[in-house]
Amino acid sequence: MKKIDNVICPFCGCLCDDLSIRIENNKIISVEKGCSISKSLFLNHDKDLALPTVYGEKTSIKESVKEAVNILSSKKHTLIYGLSSTSIETQRIALELAEFLGGSIDQTSSVCHGPTVLATQQTGINTCTLGEVKNRADVVLFWGSNPLESHQRHYKRYSLFPKGMFIPNGRKSRKLIVADVRPTNSSKLADIFLQIDIGKDYEVINVLRLLLKGKKPTSDIVGGIEVKKLKDLLDVMLSANYGVIFFGMGLTMTKGKYHNVEAAISLVRELNFHTRWSIEAMRGHYNVKGAGSVFSWQTGFPYAVNFSLGYPRYNPGEFSAVDLLRRKEVDSMLVIASDPAAAFPHKAVKNMMDIPLIVIDPKVSISSKIADVIIPTAQVGIGTAGTAYRMDGIPLRMKKLISSPYPSDVDVLSSILSGIKEVKK
């Protein structure tokens, strides 16, 4: 048996890097310090593994890669999608493949924090690292986010409980505010809870901006909340030495989408005329931040990129995965490190069923159940090493813990790319 310390968890954007893993006979037998999701991830790493498959027949990795090459080299418009649960090294090759094919490529931000990206492009963003939050933040506001269910150790490691350089007493030195449309486990720990009517986040944030400018709204109640309560909240926010807003899908998926995020970023920018505030998106998949970064440095654009004219073009709503599928504009799809058949609206999934679908994933997924070709790979951070970006943009190197029977995503995508180059020579 061997014990490996300082292991990074490949689940959410927290990228907790303090786990201890025990391994016996090439199998993970225990996880220390991880959250319950992390434990499930590591302890079930060898269960429900995908098998190399071509049109329903079990085959070898080599044959499934060969069929993927056949499909992709004969099609006119391939959509490559996923990439948030794999390494930046994989993301780089996926972009090269999309460019060579003249296809489209999108990552899971599209149906997650895509609106955050749009808002950031409009307004810029005052942001910070989680280290700054741990060491400085004395007022923390979670808006439309339920970290105790989605990012279980966020409170513990970064935002609420840890003692920091200027936060000597941990939880006692911090005020927690939660804004959500329903009470959650995360809101139960809050000093102030704002229960907002569904779809009224934009109004509430903008009333806070109005009050900050010394003006009065015409109504006494906004989004189900008394304006008096919002004034009290603003006083707490202005009393911060260092405040941070963390926001989740409650802003990006609700009506208004990027307008909600723009309003929140604008509020933070205006608070900075009085005291220091930052804002940070609660990124879900462990390397979705890396996907946006790699897309941006390779193409100039963070997601929803098309190469059909030989150069990258960017247009969410046009080249985003759900829209390309909705309009039936792609004739093949390569899914890697994601499960869009479990994440997309049904009509997009229906159109995935109607085109040749290649799925690269360590495990059985709903997408693999409708795939023509399945290529299993080693999980980054367990069966292979790789680099990922934490939700605040800090790159961390993930370790290989055990030997996997499968090749890495990098190896598989490289083989597909070189195979297609050979065919199209």
Binding site: S40, N44, I198, R326, I370
Partner: protein, 126 residues
């Protein structure tokens, strides 16, 4: 039929179950559910654990009803293939579908909770 507001989101049970396997009973038990306010359940003669047919303008699905302290008039479902049967594919030019604040309605049914196979079959017939 009375209309409710449906929102979808992450849950801890879903996060744990997806690593056990997306085609396992654990995943179905965690994801093929709808959380309702107690008063809404009582008013619609639904007991905890009763199966309901949940519908929107865009689709329908049979899931298990569970009690939660969410506001009256709200339905919460975990993200997943079951909830996605109810979601519109329209993104309003943003790339992002409306995963929250959809108008939905429900009624109790004796039909079993749909399996992932049944969900895919429903998708295919659309």
């Amino acid at each position: 039929m009375k209309k409710f507001e449906l929102i979808t989101g992450r849950t801890l049970k879903q996060g744990i179950a997806l690593h056990i396997g997306k085609t396992t009973e654990s995943y179905q038990n965690a994801v093929a559910v709808a959380y309702l306010n107690k008063v809404d359940m009582d008013e619609n003669f639904i007991t905890e654990g009763k199966n309901i047919l949940l519908s929107t303008d865009f689709g329908r699905v049979v899931v298990k009803a569970l009690k939660d302290d969410i506001p009256k008039g709200m339905i919460f479902m975990p993200y997943g293939p079951w909830a996605n049967l109810l979601i519109s594919v329209n993104t309003h030019g943003t790339g992002m579908p409306d995963f929250k604040s959809l108008i939905a309605w429900f009624s109790p049914v004796d039909e079993e909770v749909w399996s992932w196979e049944k969900v895919l079959k429903e998708v295919k017939t659309l």
